[in-house]
């Protein structure tokens, strides 16, 4: 059964405030509580609603520096992707690993306590990762918008 407008409306309201109580969510979506929870159960059972994750503000924890490292790998080695990715997973300061089709192959989101700490991570943990052909860094100045909401 395909997703209908009611499912989308429900997800849209849930996305706006994931922590809200089911009664509140149902009221906003114009549904009874029973209908809302039945629909949510169905979205979970179908694997569309996979769960909820807490967002951690690393800056509030004293991690002041955030850098986006865009990496091109040496693709003459067929194992380059796998070996690079498994080594990158071992670096605790790496928050996100993304692979791309385009000018860059991989992006790592790396945090550090300050610039001196970043320098240390960069030299001892990042530049030592295998198969890097080229690397460029973007330093985060500000998050203008975050949340990764979908236009449901």
């Amino acid at each position: 059964m395909p997703l209908d407008d009611t499912d989308r409306r429900l997800l849209r309201h849930l996305q706006a405030d994931p922590a809200q109580a089911i009664a509140e969510l149902a009221r906003r979506a114009g549904l009874t509580e029973a209908t809302a929870s039945r629909r949510l159960d169905r979205l979970r059972a179908r694997g569309i609603l996979k769960g909820q994750q807490a967002v951690i503000d690393w800056r509030a924890l004293g991690w002041e520096v955030e850098v986006s490292l865009r990496i091109t790998l040496d693709k003459t080695n067929p194992r380059a992707f796998d070996e690079f990715l498994s080594a990158a997973r071992e670096v605790p300061e790496v928050l996100e690993i993304q692979t791309f089709l385009g000018r860059v192959d991989v992006r790592l989101n790396v945090i550090a306590r300050d610039m001196a700490h970043y320098q240390q991570i960069y030299r001892s943990r990042i530049l030592t990762l295998p198969h890097i052909a080229d690397l460029e860094a973007l330093m985060h100045i500000a998050d203008i918008q975050r949340g990764e909401g979908l236009p449901l």
Partner: protein, 151 residues
């Protein structure tokens, strides 16, 4: 900045995986009482460390088959230019995140679309028409994983 102990870190790790766990259930896992767990969650929230929740959705099943990261360089970089650009870009529904960055680009955007044809529509009609846009570089997301971070 508050100092965290091992239990705080364990709570953050758990909630970053599943934020719907109740204080009672989480406490049982970690060997803490429900009120003690609740107090710790409160403290982490008040300190701004727990900064809300995100839904984990199957984007493809919802019809969003393509995620593209755009690196945008502004043509003109006056202060007014930045504000105009930021106001306009945050109003585009397909734009999920906007980061002001220092380096090769000025802004980094995460954009979702139904497919590549839909992405082209968003790019031509919405992105390339933004005030002050110079060069745009696009990379299509193939895979993504979030790591627990240094907890």
């Amino acid at each position: 900045m508050p100092t965290l102990d091992d239990l705080d870190r364990a709570i953050l790790r758990e909630l970053a995986t599943d934020a719907t766990q109740t204080a009672g259930a989480l406490g049982r896992k970690l060997g803490l009482s429900q009120p003690a767990t609740w107090r710790r969650i409160q403290r982490l929230t008040e300190a701004g460390i727990l900064a809300g929740r995100r839904l984990v959705l199957d984007q493809a099943a919802l019809g969003f088959g393509v995620t593209v990261f755009l690196g945008i360089t502004l043509a003109a970089k006056g202060r007014v230019g930045l504000q105009d650009f930021e106001r306009a870009v945050t109003a585009i529904p397909e734009v999920q995140t906007v980061q002001h960055v220092l380096g090769l680009y000025d802004y980094r955007l995460r954009v979702v679309a139904r497919d590549l044809a839909d992405f082209e529509r968003v790019l031509r009609r919405r992105i390339l028409t933004l005030p002050g846009v110079g060069a745009v570089d696009a990379n299509v997301l193939l895979s993504e994983e979030r790591r627990p971070g240094p907890l």
